[in-house]
C-alpha cells in the first residue's frame, strides 16, 4: 500500500460570515508528490492550505497527516513535519536574516537550552541552498521582497520538514530565482522524499512542475488530476471565464496555456 502524506475526507469549512467552503472535499496526496492547487481568487485555496497546515480547524471532516489526525498533534510535532510558507509576511521588528532562519529551529529547541552546533549547521546549509548566506547579517527590512521570500524559504528548510506547503511563493521572484528555487525543490524532493503542496496563480508553472493539480472554484471541487486532464480549454474557461489557447510544451509536452 502506498503511503499517503495527506488523507483529507469530507472536508467542510465555513468562515463566520460567508458561504461554506469545500462541501465534503476528499483528496489523498501521496508521499513525494508535487501537488498543485489552482483556482480563481476567493476559491478557498489559501484556506485549504491553512487547514492542511493545522492552522485552521474545519467544522467537519478529518485531515490525516501520515495517518495521524493533524489536530491531535502538538504544534511542535506538526512543525517538525510541515513547513508552511505564508502568502503574506510582515516584519514589524528588524530581525537579521540569520535570526529569522534560526527561528526555523524552534520546534527542536528545549526550554533553558542554547542553540546547538547542529542547529547552526542546518541554518547555514539552508541559507546556502537558498542563496541568502551572502546577506545573513543584514536586516530583513533592508531586503527586497524576492530576497525576503528566499529568507522565509530558508527558515522553512531549517525546520527539516517532510512536507512543504507553499502559498504563492514564486510571486515576487525574478525568473532566474523561480527556476533556481524550483530546481532546488525538485532536488530536495528526490533527496528527502519531500511532499510539496504548491499553491499558485501561474498556470504554466503548475503545468510544468505538478504531478497532479486540484482545481477549485468558489470553494468547490472542480477536478483533481494530472496537468493534461485539468488544464483543458473547457475547464479553464468554465472556471476563470477567459478563453485560453492550449498547446503542448515543445520540450516537455505538458500543456502550455496562452491567453
Amino acid at each position: 500500500m502506498a503511503i499517503f502524506t495527506y488523507e483529507i475526507k469530507n472536508l467542510y469549512f465555513q468562515y463566520p460570515t460567508s458561504a461554506p467552503l469545500f462541501k465534503g472535499l476528499s483528496i489523498k496526496i501521496k508521499e513525494k508528490e508535487w501537488f498543485g492547487i489552482i483556482g480563481p481568487n476567493g476559491s478557498g485555496k489559501t484556506t485549504l492550505l491553512k487547514i492542511m497546515a493545522g492552522l485552521l480547524m474545519p467544522q467537519k471532516g478529518t485531515v490525516l497527516l501520515f495517518n495521524n489526525n493533524i489536530f491531535s498533534l502538538t504544534p511542535k510535532e506538526r512543525a517538525k513535519i510541515i513547513g508552511y510558507f505564508p502568502q503574506e509576511n510582515f516584519f514589524i521588528f528588524d530581525f537579521t536574516v540569520k535570526e529569522i532562519v534560526l527561528m526555523g529551529r524552534n520546534p527542536y529547541r528545549k526550554r533553558f537550552s542554547f542553540i546547538t552546533k547542529k542547529d547552526m549547521e542546518i541554518v547555514e546549509r539552508a541559507m546556502e541552498l537558498t542563496g541568502t548566506i551572502e546577506f545573513k547579517d543584514k536586516k530583513i527590512n533592508e531586503l527586497s521582497t524576492g530576497e525576503k521570500q528566499r529568507v522565509i524559504l530558508a527558515r522553512i528548510l531549517a525546520q527539516e520538514p517532510q512536507v512543504l506547503l507553499l502559498d504563492e511563493f514564486t510571486t515576487h521572484l525574478d525568473i532566474a530565482y523561480q527556476i533556481e528555487l524550483i530546481n532546488l525543490l525538485k532536488r530536495l524532493r528526490e533527496a528527502k522524499n519531500l511532499t510539496i503542496v504548491f499553491l499558485t496563480h501561474d498556470l504554466n508553472l503548475a503545468s510544468l512542475t505538478c504531478d497532479r493539480i486540484l482545481l477549485l472554484a468558489k470553494g468547490e471541487f472542480v477536478g483533481c488530476d494530472t496537468p493534461e486532464r485539468i488544464l483543458r480549454e473547457d475547464l479553464i474557461e468554465k472556471v476563470y471565464k477567459v478563453k485560453p489557447i492550449i498547446k503542448p510544451h515543445p520540450l516537455t509536452n505538458r500543456p502550455l496555456i496562452i491567453f
Binding site: G54, P86, E99, I100
Partner: protein
C-alpha cells in the same frame, strides 16, 4: 562587531555604577553620606526604581512582540487606570492609610485586567486587536470612575497624583515590607520564566500564524505570558505608581542598540529600564523644591528621544 558590543557593555556598566552612586549619595543639598538616610530612604528608593523600571521596560518589550504592535506599552491592559481607580475608591470609602494603599492599587488593577481578559478572550477566541481595544476601553472607564471619586473624596489631590504619575518615595513598615518582598520575589521568578520564552517571542513577532507553524502553541503561550505580565506590572504599579513612557521607549532603544532578537532585548530592556527610572528619580527629587512625580521626568526626556529614534529609523 564583537568589539563594538564590548564597548557598549562597558559604557552601560559605567553608567550603571554612576547612577547607583548618585541615587545613593546625592541629596537636594549636594552629596550626603549619612548612614541612616542612605539605608532607610535612598536604598529602598533605589531598589524600587530598579525593579519597577526594569520590569516595565521588560514587559513593554514582551507586549510589543506579543501583540505585534510596536506602540504597545505595559498599560495597554488597563492596569494603570485600574490601580488608580482602586486607590481613589479607597480614599473615598475610608481613611486609607499609607501602608495599605498598594493593596487597593493591586486589587483595582486586578479587576481591570480581569475585565480586559474576559472581553478579549471571549468564547475561547484570542484576538490581538480586540485585546488592545478592550484595554483602551476599560482604561477610559476606570479613569472616569477615578476622577469621580477624586472629586468626591475630601483628600488632597496630590496623593493620588503621585500614584497616577509615579513616585518612588517609600516608607516601609512591617506589613508593606512583607508584601513588597513577597510580590517582588514572585516578580523576579516570573521574569526568569518569561525570559525562557525569548525564542518563542521571536517567532511570535512574525505573527501568530507563523509562530504556530513554527511550533509555538500560540493560545497557551499568550495566556501564560499575559498572566505573568499582568502580575508583574500590577505589582510594580502598586508600589511605584504608573511611571509612564519607560515601557514604550526603552524596548525601542534596546532594539536600536542591541538588535531585535528577544534573547537580547529582554535582559537589556530590563537593565536600561532600571537605569532610566533610577536616573529619572534622581532628577525628580533634586531639581525642584518639591519632589516631582517621576512621569514628568521620564516623559520630558522620553518623548523627544522617541522622536529621535523614529526619525533615525525612517
Amino acid at each position: 562587531m564583537k568589539c563594538r558590543k564590548i564597548i557598549k557593555i562597558f559604557f552601560l556598566s559605567l553608567f550603571f555604577l554612576l547612577i547607583v552612586f548618585l541615587s545613593l549619595f546625592l541629596g537636594s543639598n549636594g552629596f550626603f553620606f549619612d548612614k541612616t538616610i542612605i539605608l532607610n530612604i535612598r536604598l529602598p528608593r533605589m531598589i524600587l526604581g530598579f525593579l519597577a523600571g526594569g520590569s516595565l521596560a521588560f514587559c513593554g518589550a514582551v507586549l510589543q512582540g506579543l501583540l505585534e504592535n510596536p506602540l504597545c506599552d505595559p498599560y495597554i491592559l488597563g492596569i494603570a487606570s485600574g490601580a488608580a481607580f482602586g486607590v481613589s475608591f479607597g480614599y473615598f470609602i475610608s481613611k486609607l492609610t499609607y501602608f495599605i494603599t498598594p493593596i487597593f492599587a493591586f486589587l483595582g488593577a486586578l479587576w481591570a485586567v480581569l475585565l480586559v481578559y474576559n472581553l478579549a478572550f471571549y468564547k475561547g477566541k484570542t484576538n490581538k486587536l480586540t485585546l488592545i481595544l478592550a484595554g483602551v476601553i476599560v482604561s477610559f472607564l476606570f479613569s472616569s470612575l477615578t476622577m469621580l471619586f477624586m472629586v468626591f473624596s475630601k483628600r488632597p489631590l496630590n496623593e493620588i497624583i503621585y500614584l497616577l504619575m509615579g513616585n518612588l518615595a517609600i516608607v516601609f513598615n512591617k506589613l508593606n515590607l512583607t508584601i513588597f518582598i513577597i510580590v517582588n520575589s514572585l516578580t523576579i521568578i516570573f521574569l526568569i520564566i518569561i525570559s525562557s520564552y525569548a525564542f518563542e517571542l521571536n517567532c511570535f513577532a512574525l505573527g501568530s500564524e507563523v509562530a504556530e507553524s513554527l511550533g509555538v502553541n500560540t493560545k497557551k503561550f499568550m495566556r501564560i505570558l499575559f498572566f505573568l505580565i499582568s502580575f508583574i506590572i500590577t505589582a510594580q504599579v502598586a508600589f511605584a505608581g504608573a511611571i509612564s513612557f519607560v515601557g514604550l521607549v526603552i524596548p525601542h532603544l534596546t532594539r536600536f542598540l542591541f538588535g531585535s532578537n528577544y534573547e537580547k532585548v529582554l535582559p537589556f530592556s530590563f537593565i536600561l529600564g532600571a537605569l532610566a527610572v533610577m536616573g529619572a528619580d534622581i532628577i525628580a527629587r533634586s531639581i525642584a523644591p518639591v519632589e516631582l512625580p517621576i512621569s514628568i521626568v521620564t516623559t520630558f526626556f522620553g518623548a523627544p528621544f522617541f522622536l529621535y529614534l523614529l526619525k533615525k529609523n525612517l
